[in-house]
């Protein structure tokens, strides 16, 4: 279950990154549609937060420690909203670049989340 959500967040984050990276390449600031995309990724990340908390409540534990897992989980949920605010403050191509970077960062966070949870070992 968690693996599916992790994959979903990663893929949507990378798509958002490519989209905003293209906007930056075209010298364009983030537009309304981009913010829609950021909202979608944020919603998936929040869904991940809820699902993870439910799994933790059912007694499952991440392999590499609960505190680290929770830190990455919260970080993953905050990354895109933070990037959105930064791109609101920077109405140039660099605002788009900020969101593109945020998408890649989120994908890396998801990779780490997967390792911390220990999906590879059953």
């Amino acid at each position: 279950m968690l693996t599916a959500v992790i994959v979903t967040v990663s893929v949507t984050a990378l798509l958002l990154s490519a989209w905003c990276g293209y906007a930056a390449y075209r010298d364009s600031p983030t537009k309304d549609w981009h913010f829609g995309g950021m909202a979608v990724v944020t919603l998936v990340a929040l869904l991940q937060l809820v699902i993870s908390v439910v799994q933790l409540a059912r007694g499952e534990r991440p392999e590499q420690g609960l505190a680290v897992f929770l830190a990455y989980l919260i970080g993953a949920a905050c990354t895109i909203p933070a990037a959105a605010f930064m791109s609101l403050a920077e109405r140039t191509r660099w605002g788009s670049a900020i969101v593109a970077a945020g998408g890649i960062i989120l994908a890396v966070l998801e990779l780490r989340l997967d390792q911390i949870w220990g999906n590879g070992h059953g």
Binding site: A67, V68, G75, M86, E90, W94
Partner: protein, 174 residues
């Protein structure tokens, strides 16, 4: 509503107290004022340094508080990295010439640190029993730890040159 005409033909504010750049001849967008190091490309740097401040500081705090004796040097190094990131982040937010100089010094230290630790880990992997932010030149962080200080140094040096060609530190699209 009628007695005060709200139209303002000239965008320039009338009385700049220490106005030295109220000339019409120089396009404002082409002038990277030394103070504005946290806008334009600088804002992207600010964003990345913000992420790395949170990442490095929280990582080292967790490690130091839970298993300090496992690898004291590695954890202290992560803490040092986090503090450096925090100082650069603050300087970028604050702006101004002294902040720019401080950021230059910290970026240099950061580059020195990541090159030293990176080389040490490549040459002798037993030098650090546990990974730091700077191990293997930051390969665990998609090499950003070595890219960031280089980019930062370039950007901060550019921001120092007034009216340099084609370095728009300010928003053109505004």
């Amino acid at each position: 509503m009628a007695d005060r005409t709200p139209q303002h033909p000239a965008p320039a504010p009338p009385a700049a107290p220490e106005g030295r750049d109220d000339r019409e001849g120089v396009p404002a967008a082409a002038r990277p004022q030394a103070g504005k190091i946290g806008t334009g490309p600088g804002r992207l740097l600010l964003w990345l340094y913000g992420i790395f401040t949170v990442a490095a500081l929280s990582r080292s705090i967790v490690q130091i508080s839970t298993k300090f004796h496992h690898a004291p040097l590695a954890y202290v190094l992560s803490l040092v990295a986090g503090v450096l990131y925090a100082v650069i982040l603050t300087a970028l937010v604050k702006g101004g010439e002294s902040a720019r100089r401080l950021a230059l010094v910290c970026c240099s230290l950061e580059l020195l640190g990541v090159l030293t630790v990176g080389t040490l880990t490549v040459v002798d992997s037993s030098a650090f029993p546990d990974a730091t932010v700077w191990s293997y030149y930051g390969a665990g962080y998609i090499l950003l730890p070595v890219v960031l200080p280089v980019t930062g140094l370039i950007w901060l040096r550019r921001a120092a040159q007034p009216a340099a060609d084609g370095t728009p530190a300010e928003s053109k699209a505004a």
